[in-house]
Symmetry: D2
Subunit: 305 residues, 4 copies
């Protein structure tokens, strides 16, 4: 597969693309980003790398962190987590309380905010220094010790915590949150506020690839296959809130988006790929990012389907 040529052809196809998306502003700090930024990094299972644009520029990974915290939690405690969070698509926006009330405090899946709060709560209960330990985990899987929290973003999120505070309090009422709500929110907002580049994200998500025996030396940090299979399944069914079906339909890869405009996706047998473009469509996913990935799986004729 000539990935370089395919990436260049996508770039060419989209050079006059009219982006109708809007940069997220509900957290003021996020609204400061330059909306024309674009980056892409493709990390192949055989060790090859390809990139476009600002692939090394860091941005706020936001909800993409939910996959990393899930992977970390499943390292620490493999089974009990699934008593506290379900594995079904929600069909609702990422921050809805409606299902949570009907379903008695059990979030639909770990990739909506409520589910990620439960995962964070479990991490807090296991870790001595949750923020430090989580950051170290991310640095290790991304292979870059310079990765860090953007504390101004974390502080901005804390100032606008109310919807997430409502979710956490509702789950605490249903006894599905064990730790102090404000400490939990502080930990959760820090996870969202990690700044990473496309290159770092693609590297980090390579832990979910199915390395064959000869490639395993490359990836000692890879998640055990049975766990990776499940996390990949969850990304495919739940990674894009109430647009998960659309992403599966158009792109056909497990993936996860964040309101910072990043999307990471992967084909378990071939590659992990990260793309970044801040303007979001009305469902909260990077408009251009989805378009690029749709072209990528169409042109390569490779998807999981």
């Amino acid at each position: 597969m000539n990935y370089q040529a395919i990436l260049e052809s996508i770039q060419s196809d989209l050079k006059d693309y009219k982006n109708t998306g809007k940069v997220a502003t509900y957290i003021p700090e996020l609204g400061k980003v330059d909306s024309s930024k674009f980056g892409l990094h493709l990390n192949c299972i055989n060790g090859n790398h390809y990139h476009l644009g600002a692939s090394q520029e860091r941005f706020s990974i936001q909800s993409i962190s939910k996959v990393l915290s899930l992977a970390f939690a499943l390292k620490l405690e493999r089974n009990k987590l699934w008593n506290r969070v379900d594995v079904e698509p929600s069909g609702d926006p990422f921050n809805s309380l409606v299902q949570l009330e009907y379903e008695k405090g059990i979030p639909r899946n770990p990739f909506i905010n409520a589910g990620a709060l439960v995962v964070s709560d479990m991490l807090m209960s296991h870790l001595k220094n949750p923020k430090e330990d989580f950051l170290q985990y991310v640095r290790d899987i991304a292979g870059d010790q310079s990765i860090d929290y953007d504390t101004s973003v974390a502080a901005s999120e804390m100032q606008h915590k109310y919807r997430n505070a409502a979710l956490a309090h509702l789950m605490k009422d249903f006894k599905n949150i064990n730790n102090d709500v404000d400490a939990l929110l502080d930990f959760y907002f820090h996870q969202c506020a990690i700044a990473m580049s496309c290159q770092q994200l693609a590297q980090a998500f390579s832990i979910f690839l199915n390395y064959s025996k000869q490639d395993q030396s490359q990836q000692a940090l890879a998640v055990p296959p049975m766990i990776a299979k499940r996390i990949n399944a969850l990304m495919l069914t739940c990674g894009f809130y109430d647009e998960s079906g659309e992403f599966a339909f158009r792109v056909g890869l497990p993936g996860k988006s964040g309101v910072g405009g990043g999307i990471v996706a992967l084909h378990p047998k071939h590659y992990s790929i990260a793309v970044w473009s801040p303007p979001l469509n009305e469902k909260g996913n990077s408009e251009l990012g989805m378009k690029v990935l749709e072209l990528f799986t169409s042109k390569t004729e490779i998807s999981v389907f």
Copy 2:
């Protein structure tokens, strides 16, 4: 891969399995089936076949027909369909009216009843003899001209039509059904009442596999890859009602279940597989069928993830 050994080991693992499921009885005709029936047929892309139990015995395919009617509709009209039905998981039971009201008569996806009724309505508008033409399509893709409607099941469904009649009338109120409701229901119930064996189903669903050039002689009826990709994505995200996430999580294949106890699943690069066991779990999917497929993808270590 020694599929024969894997199938035998699954059979051995499950020989004392205590099935807690219940045969569907809401259509009386379906309740007459022997609950201990079991069949499986594996149809590999290279032309090999493997089977267990009553793999040639026919049963009511029920909602499995929704995938076949979608494939047929997309042959006739590729684009307009997606204006009338969405591609998102519903997160609700298969016959719910709630989302349909909130979303103004646009069903969440073509694999819940409301969505399949819209697909059927579109087929009716295109076909001269809907029932005859649809049956011929199924016979052709399954390669067996003896396949037929079980008219006693269709009649039994018509006598208990009320929930589906409510769905159809609600969508007609929203102008998303064009044909007469009773004629539409008659057509829809006939689709559900097709009787097929595991062998025939596995053959029919091979149209969604990604045949390589050298295999294409085997499968002239294969769906174009871009369409197959989308139908497979829909099966993965929406094929098991509000248990779609669970099936993706445990099994990791696109698939579709029916209340007759059948499940068809497929790996686009490897095989299609059909399994039949009538007792259903509380979500309406074959309990043993899901278990068998979970063991199958675990033992083969092959899934789309």
Copy 3:
């Protein structure tokens, strides 16, 4: 109380009223009415009558009929009805299916469409000639044998039956409808299509007043006090769909509206009053009718509160 002076003062206050409402058009036949029509009839418990405008002109009573069919059903069968329909405000639009699905086919109250369909179903099971017998009941309580169905309105409703057909089929699925759905809808649409004047409506609703002993000769048809109390309570809590609270808050009387622009209200110790003005507010209630009744209870300083 000088009712004549109060009515005239209301007429004077509202002579330049800018009506922002819209005449109902979802049934084409209803859309033909002159939107400037206005009538009012006040029927006092002591036998005095007062009126304004076109108080003798007949219009389609629509949902106002739901109170009369409930009263008639409670004459025939006092207790079993409440197993099939609840007595709670719905908080939802008049034709919603959402609660009906969640609450397993038991309508919230007899004044939303679903509830009135159950009441009609019960009447059908008791009456030899439902349409003739119901019409006779209305003629008797209104004291006017010339009252009749507007069959062109009934036919128009039958042509646009889909939403109500969805409600009826859903309840039939839950076994809360016993009769044939199309026959039931025909009966129900005829009830809605009765044409009556404000004078006739005020007279008919006088059966819910608390006549003292000396006045009872006037009203042999009065509903027994324990039944009247309950029907009045239902009108107050449920008579105006999801605007029932607003009507109670602003007007403070039991009442019932119809999409033909009519409103009937009553004070059990003093009077029944009917007002008619076709333009409806966005909740489907006569905008001017509500305004007139608000002024009436404010100026008289009499309400049930």
Copy 4:
């Protein structure tokens, strides 16, 4: 009316009553009450008083306080309140977040928890010392300066604040709460934790009666008639959560219940009445209290309907 004889006959009718209700335990402090306690106080507009049982024993008034805080808020600011809270029955449990999310942070009415939190927020913005000032208002209208907060109940509620904290944070996210959430909850829980007897409650609620000119000397604190009408209407349509219709249907009076087992009701022209019995039915209203009031309006043949 021989009220004394009627009260005695009710007591006699119910002496062998099997109460199937359960004392509220979700706030541990409330669970300590003796479930067999019973008290009743009837306060007639003409100055007569009647009572049964422990009518002077104080209990936690809980949600009954919502009517008093609304009355106090409407003294301070008559109009703006209705931009922030609606006047419709909710049809949902008292602490539901579902409607609040759909309706963008505007509570359905001031007598569900969310609505009372908005009223409390408005009081906090107007009052220098919210807790002291509110308590003084209650003491004044009840005519008893010994009324006080039960601080152990308030502290117990604060320890189990999570559901109410979720409601408050969700509304703050929708910008319908202005004050600090924890300070607001502290004020709100204190209101709920006022301890009053049936006698004191009946006296306090006499401010909502329609005193005639000759009786006005008795009640200088009476709420202006136009305000009392609206508060009474709200009590009738919304005073018993999702059982408001049932109370209107069976009892036929404006009223308000609390999970401490108290119910206050009133007939604007005749009396206010308070009854106390701790065991609650499944909707959270005093089972015996509702029964007593149903018998009272049946035997007196007086209700607002």
